[in-house]
């Protein structure tokens, strides 16, 4: 079966550098990197908002009649995830008001429509630099949530509406992965996506933990499982978790899973590792000696790499998660200072 191979080595090669396999991407504009970063953060955020709203509604159907107070707390916790202090003024029941506010309200910078509008505005300003496929995917998902019949489709089936937002975010991220060269531009997309996911995941766990585990909310024991499953669903993690830990939903295991797993794309440690790798690549690509963001994220990663659940509990879940949020926010500021606003 062996093929004669001698010709391969004698092929004339003029100059190695001319055929450099690594490509010759020139350094991208700071504004371009900035727009890339925010475009990807907003797409990721829209996905989290849609998933949280969708799961919250469906979990509440499963738990049946709850006291109004408990119900309100669960809906308000969604606002807390996105650092919104007060519910929107509205005549509608709170659940309805919050759903609409987080879906359509333009004045709310974290609503799905706002996120997709901003993502698309950023994309438009760098259209020449992203792939046509990415632009068309983002543009059509924007046009779909802003269409005249968007509210009607929402009223007809919330789940379908949210699912289409989820699918379009997934499509966009897949296209980003598969149609861009994995150079500086893609590294910014990675950093943005994982920073956003770390932030939202840690806040979901934080707010729900304080509701469910530290007794802010009194729940009947038979409903505990359903609530904790809702937390995992909100983080897109239910199936993997169940496969590994069949049986009762143990809050400690859930916390451990969402914080410390290094091989699951939805858990915090995995995301920190990815962000850290991208920051290292960016530093190398731009020939910098040190990068403060890389240092912050690297330190956080080391901490997570060697953490034990007992340690986390010692500090307190909430404080531990808040520290992660703080580190990520510091790192995000450092990225801006180093690459966009110098």
């Amino acid at each position: 079966m062996a093929e004669p191979r001698e010709n391969i080595t004698t092929l004339p090669v003029e100059s190695r550098s001319k055929f450099d396999q690594r490509g010759r991407a020139r350094p991208m504009l700071s504004r371009d990197a900035d727009a890339m970063y925010w475009m990807c953060r907003y797409v990721e955020r829209a996905e989290h908002v849609a998933r949280l709203l969708m799961i919250n509604a469906s979990t509440l159907i499963d738990v049946g009649d709850l006291e109004t107070d408990a119900l309100n707390k669960l809906w308000l916790s969604i606002l807390r995830v996105f650092r919104i202090e007060h519910p929107p003024p509205s005549d509608l029941p709170l659940a309805e008001a919050i759903s609409r506010y987080m879906t359509f309200e333009i004045a709310n910078p974290n609503s799905i429509v706002s996120c997709l509008t901003r993502a698309r505005e950023n994309a438009r300003s760098i259209r020449e630099n992203i792939s046509a496929e990415m632009w068309e995917a983002l543009n059509s998902s924007y046009l779909s949530v802003r269409a005249d019949d968007a509210v009607a489709r929402f009223d007809e089936s919330r789940e379908d509406f949210y699912r289409s937002v989820l699918a379009s975010s997934m499509l966009f991220q897949g296209l980003t992965n598969q149609t861009l060269p994995h150079t500086q531009r893609w590294q910014f997309a990675q950093v943005a996506k994982y920073f956003e996911r770390i932030d939202v995941t840690s806040r979901i766990l934080d707010t729900r933990w304080s509701l469910l585990a530290s007794g802010e909310l009194t729940i009947e024991p038979q409903l505990r499982n359903i609530h904790w499953m809702g937390v995992l669903r909100s983080c897109c993690s239910i199936e993997t978790f169940r496969r590994e830990y069949p049986g009762e939903m143990d809050p400690l295991r859930i916390a451990q899973f969402l914080i410390l797993r290094n091989d699951f794309p939805r858990s915090i440690r995995f995301c920190v590792e990815q962000a850290s790798e991208s920051l290292t690549s960016l530093r190398t690509m731009t020939s910098r000696a040190i990068d403060p963001a890389e240092r912050i994220v690297g330190r956080l990663l080391a901490q997570l790499d060697y953490a034990e659940l007992a340690e986390v509990l010692n500090v307190g879940i909430s404080r531990y998660l808040q520290n992660i949020q703080h580190q990520i926010s510091e790192a995000a500021t450092a990225v801006q200072k180093a690459y966009f606003l110098y």
Binding site: R26, P27, M28, L29, S30, R31, D32, A33, E121, R124, S125, R127, E128, N129, A132, W135, E136, N139, S140, Q184, L282, M285, T286, S287, Y339, F340, Y342
Partner: protein, 499 residues
């Protein structure tokens, strides 16, 4: 449904055309010059195949294709911005699917005429910003130049690379009742629309592949490549063999942003905004994630007035402080150079035939529309006496603004305009009404004649290069002579034929 092939036998074809009503049934020529028809039943030779092809279509079929084209434009975001519209700020350019066809022998004349014109205009810019021979030899009165809004005294005695001022020019041509081409105006600052030419062609190839089969249409696809070479041609010597070229855009809210982004993508260069650039030691740099990177050539789509707050409008946020100094030092080239707006002045336009005679010792190949310059007392008197027969234009307006169509205006409108002319005659010119040629356009479910003009694009690098094609703009309202997109005009693909 697949498109019907129209290479059937002649007999078959004639019977099928005779048998069914075509979309040309009610077509009227109205005594104008029609691009497609020499007279009621006679098609011009270069339109024969297209006419037969179009006769094959039924309205529903045609409409389906029109919708395909609209979707293609919208999905790709081929839009322009309408200022002051709250929600749908991005509009698609109305696209008319019936192509305009120009035979080779006509194009040869246009090409020669436009090359001659851009050469003369570049010599004029160099002269007017240096020795001003054209003034001292009394070809143009000095007050015409010094009174021009877009004359830039900041450019006096500034050397520009290779003496090229106008690298990219868009010259508007019209055809009168006699079928002759006339130059209506030059756009020597930042002509836009070329992206629509390229995108329209791409869409036409997708929607009407069969119509192309009978023709050898010259390709326009290498325009971005030629544009890049034109820009590299003026790079400063220190840039070496691979100069850094960038497009300077006012930003995403500019009406032509799509085009800026399109050209950057097609040429593979960076699209920068004023905030991306800094000037240090009279060199221009862009801010990248790896620090500052020198820029050698700027294709700027920002007007003179806003390009450098230190030299022009101090409150401009679109420009770059110090850019003019870097330009004067020869450290960065700008296309087009500052000061070319003088050629867009409609009173200066009237002197272009004189410029051609003066600088080139040639007769103009493409005539101007006869123009009365109101700054001249005799012309002004004539204009005021004949307002009802003339088109009066403000010398420095564009986009169809500041214009009086004397024959369509009311008495009050004419009087108001006359008042303005008396107040500031330098600001006005008058021309006889040119009854623009018409071309079949899709109107509802059939074809009707609509007025058209033509904007070809000319590049000036080591020699003039006219893109074989251009933007044919259509006045979509019946009888209207105004084709500007800001006034509800549309566009159609323009086919220039090989020999």
């Amino acid at each position: 449904m697949t498109p019907v092939p129209y290479n059937r036998s002649l007999a078959e074809e004639e019977s099928s055309i005779a048998a069914q009503k075509t979309m040309f049934e009610a077509y009227q020529i109205d005594g104008l010059f029609d691009e497609m028809f020499a007279s009621a039943n006679v098609t011009r030779p270069h339109y024969e195949s297209a006419f037969r092809g179009l006769c094959e279509f039924q309205p529903t079929d045609f409409d389906r294709r029109r919708r395909m084209a609209d979707v293609a434009f919208r999905n790709q975001g081929i839009t322009f911005t309408v200022y002051g519209d709250k929600r749908g700020v991005e509009k698609i350019f109305p696209f008319d699917l019936v192509p305009r066809i120009i035979p080779a022998h006509e194009w040869d004349v246009i090409e020669a005429g436009l090359s001659q014109r851009i050469t003369a205009l570049n010599l004029f810019c160099k002269d007017i910003y240096h020795d001003q021979r054209i003034l001292s030899e009394n070809i143009i009165p000095p007050e015409m130049i010094y009174g021009a809004k877009f004359f830039r005294r900041e450019m006096m005695h500034v050397h520009v690379p290779r003496d090229i001022y106008i690298h990219i020019c868009g010259t508007d041509l019209v055809r009168g009742k006699d079928g002759a081409y006339y130059v209506l105006e030059d756009n020597a600052r930042t002509p836009s629309g070329v992206s629509y030419v390229l995108e329209s062609r791409a869409v036409m190839k997708r929607v009407f592949p069969t119509l192309f089969a009978e023709y050898r249409v010259r390709s326009v696809e290498d325009y971005p490549h030629n544009l890049l070479n034109t820009l590299k041609h003026v790079a400063p010597p220190h840039a070496g063999s691979d100069p850094v070229v960038a497009i300077l855009t006012p930003g995403v809210f500019n009406s032509a942003f799509f085009e800026h982004s399109f050209l950057a993508r097609q040429m593979g260069v960076d699209l920068v905004e004023g905030q991306d650039l800094v000037v240090e030691n009279n060199f221009v740099y862009m801010r990248t994630i790896a620090g500052l990177r020198r820029v050698d050539v700027l294709y700027r789509r920002v007007d003179d007035d806003f390009i450098d707050p230190l030299t022009f409008h101090p409150e401009s946020m679109l420009g770059v402080a110090g850019l003019m100094n870097a330009f004067r030092c020869g450290n960065v080239a700008m296309a087009n150079a500052v000061g070319t707006g003088i050629c867009d002045d409609k009173a200066i336009y009237a002197y272009v035939p004189e410029m051609i005679r003066f600088y080139l010792k040639q007769e103009p190949i493409l005539p101007n529309v006869p123009t009365h310059i109101c700054a001249r007392p005799d012309d002004c008197r004539y204009t005021l006496e004949n307002l009802d027969k003339l088109v009066v234009k403000a010398t420095n307006e564009s986009g169809g603004y500041g214009m009086l169509m004397g024959h369509q205006a009311t008495r009050e409108q004419r009087e108001a305009f006359a008042e303005q002319i008396r107040k500031d005659p330098r600001n006005f010119i008058a021309q006889p009404v040119v009854e623009l040629s018409q071309h079949p356009s899709l109107v509802g479910d059939h074809f009707e004649g609509r007025r058209v003009d033509l904007r070809p694009y000319i590049l000036y690098g080591d020699k003039p290069l006219v893109m074989p094609g251009g933007l044919t703009r259509v006045a979509l309202t019946k009888g209207s002579l105004v084709v500007n997109s800001s006034q509800g005009g549309g566009s159609k693909d323009t086919w220039v034929l090989e020999e």
